[in-house]
Amino acid sequence: MAYSNEKGDSVTGKWLIPIEEIRQVREKIGDNTEKNKVELTENLCGGKASNLGFLKKEGLKEGINVPRGACIGTAAYNEYVDKTGLRGRILLELNRKPFEEMRWEELWDLSEKIKHMFARTPFPPGMEEELEEEISGYFGEIAVAVRSSAPGEDSAKTSFAGVHASYVNVREALNILRHLRLVWASLWSDSALLYRKEMGLDIFKSSMAVLIQEIVEGRVSGVAFGMNPEDELEALVEAVYGLNKGLVDGTVEPDRWVLDRKSGNIKKHYPAEREKAVFAGSGGAGTGNKSTEGTEGTEGTEGTEGTEGTEGTEGTEGTEGTEGTELRSLPESLKGKPPLAPAEVTEVFNLTRKVETLLVRRGGRGKPQDVEWTIRDNTLYTLQSRPITTLMREDRDEKRLWYLSLRRSFGNLKELRKTIEEKRIPVMQAEARDLEKEELSGLTETALAEEIERRAGIYRKWHDIYWDEFIPFAHGARLFGKVYNETVDPKDPYEFADLLSGTGMLSLERNRKLEEMAGKLRNAPELLQKAKNLSPDPGLEKELDIFISEYGGSYSESSTAREGLIRLLVEMASRTPLTSSSASPAKEKGPDQDSGRIQKLKDNFFSRFEGEKKQFAAELLDLGRASYRLRDDDNIYLGKIEAELRRFLLEGEKRLKKRGLKEVELPEIEKIPNLEPVIEDITEKMVKTLKDPKYLPEWKKGAEKPETPETSEEKLKPRQLLGNPSGPGAAEGRARVILQESDLYDIKAGEVLVCDAVDPNMTFIVPLCSAIVERRGGMLIHGAIIAREYGIPCVTGVPDATELIKNGDYLAVDGYLGIITVLERRDW
């Protein structure tokens, strides 16, 4: 078969449909009303490809130029997911846990896992050859963009801009096919899942068409709004030198023209400070090698592949692949000159009108358009057009912005790291220390009230910073994971996690120290006996002091920690020395082998990068590690500040008690496990009551009190619980449920640790356990990483784990599939 887009020939293949023929394909299928035809077309090829196809076919006589493009319809997606079983696998993954109960981390894990499935599942037999033949027949060796064109993606009601992936500057059929699968996978990206959910769309009915588009490398590019989303009497034109990418992802400030929508007259020009522009890179890209295309929002220059030509991009940073773009300084001659002359601004504006008018003929869809365009050799090209969504303003809605903000670009994350490490953390620590120093006893009630108010303010401030900066910074670890997976393509999608925990070395050392102390007890019965009586030998006492100050973390000041450690040492001494867990056949390793393995992983990762890009790879790993490390630390620091507020609130309560108030008239702060949601309410009432003894608030009303379940109702007995497999291996053992800190030290060797979340300071317990079960979900949480380090089976994200599982239940933990089976229920 020969494919060409020469006039007249039908070149539609089994899978590939040239965009200008999309309509004909549907017309062949049956007679429909015009509106239905539009809908059918969009179901096969999505709105983006269908719209462009229509413009290409009908717009030429109006002077609308659309680059060559073709669509791989939803039929191909469906064939692939059905024949390979992916549809079922996705269904199984999504059903591990109700969507509503997932933390954003779990959602990210889920979508990364699904993406990994797409990347590693080959096409069903024959399909790849068919696609390859059709694509290379149609596009040959030219550079293309591979973009999502999902049905319902760009309608006036929904806007998936920036939610699905698109890759620019890809060459050769096989490489295009690899990206095709990645675009398909982005149907299941975390933001796509959240967005569908928010819009009330059925996740399982969604499908993906893909637009493959020839790249037009323009001199000037931009976006035009046929109608200003904020003022319907106006239109907007934005333009930058070079490629659109810089404009869309916010790295390059555009010149901006406001026009009168009716007359087309330019009302105002807002010139930009023209410093830089995104140009096509200079390296040799798209030649089928594994590169870092698709790293979200990396700024182009850093290590991404470079070659000519990226054109219009879509949506926000975050999902845009940047194969071969570079952010460069503008030549002086251009800095002072707007990218468009007034006549060109008018031409671009007229384009939006032409498109709008033309689309009226297509089933009455004459909505104002948002057009991406570029100018090459004085020809204006239309790269993309979609109706201006009613959501545009709401796009800036906090919530959506927040979760999109979780996907920060490399450059942005580097900045964030600097701020956090150099400013936030030191100030936060200093502030926590200052708060600690303050004495309570001498304060008058008024002074106490004022101090509580001040502390609540400080807590709120850090809480907000935590959400605005620390949590988004956690994306650094994920960005590294994403790049790692796309370059190394490992069998295990969480292999990268092993590279993140440089902290692992510290914990291994700590455990070695513990084992050393336990070894001394093991060899000396008299010392062991002393320890059993909780009055250890002075030598051991000293060692314990050093150990606690070095590794104790937030437990250092806890009175139970010391006693607990002694009990733990006794427990360790009564069993054979710890070498490694026998539970997992996969990893037989001590610290040395482990560091050897990590070195190997690292070398392998770096070997995928050449020249200057190695630097980028190293920086990215460094960033990933900082991001991972901080996740532990920030929690602890914020915890300290909260504890300091709590200390003062408790003092307040004590004073109120002294006034003779009864329990019902008190907040009972000790009984509020999570202060955060009620902090404002409690603080306000406490301050008022302290200052004004006559004021008697109703404390319990605003407070969220955990409801005690009715004791009369018989509880359901768990048999099998499902979570996420987070550390491979299988083990059986009695459950040790950790409900409070002191439970930790009761653990016996071989027990299964069941907890809400493994705190970084809990990790010295881990080598004693046969498995870990955690309520908190995520592959990058501490429990999961430490379990992987020791080769201990681990299941995370098990809802209500610590409530459903009872101390002493005999469990089977399946770390491969994420299943916990209660083999025997504790009968006491």
Partner: protein, 173 residues
Amino acid sequence: MKDEIASLLPHELEVREGEAPVESKGLEKTRLLEELRKLFESQPLAVLATQGEGTPYVSLVAFASDVKLKYLLFSTTKATRKYANLLADPSVSLLIDNRKNILEDFRDAMAVTVLGEIEPVEDFELKIMENIYLMKHPHLVDFLHSPTNAFLKVNVEKYIVVSHFQHVVEIKV
């Protein structure tokens, strides 16, 4: 509506309601097996009956069968009750049917009771058996390949085929 199985049966073959089933032979058997093959392909799940300490125990399993219907394949994680039961007593029964849980089932539904014994899947046949299983259930690939999972083969002794509410025939394979 004509009952498919009834129409397959020769008139001489005696099938009486409520009486002991008769064995199907020759050509009829071939055609009936073809019917079973179609039924098995259309049904992803079977009911598996095991027993432990004298107590029957039923569960749903995703199954597949070989082209000659000599074997049924399924898999289970090893921490389950059914697996413990199978270790103690390898004889099993399965039910595969196409009922829709509506009144018309009494006329249209077909139900096949399988009697057989669990055998381990031997190394030499593992690849082909896995292919058969994954062809029908490609989405269970992770499950099947987990070290905590057991891949099992039921060596079928006979099928007892019920149709038309009370038509019952028996086939040995």
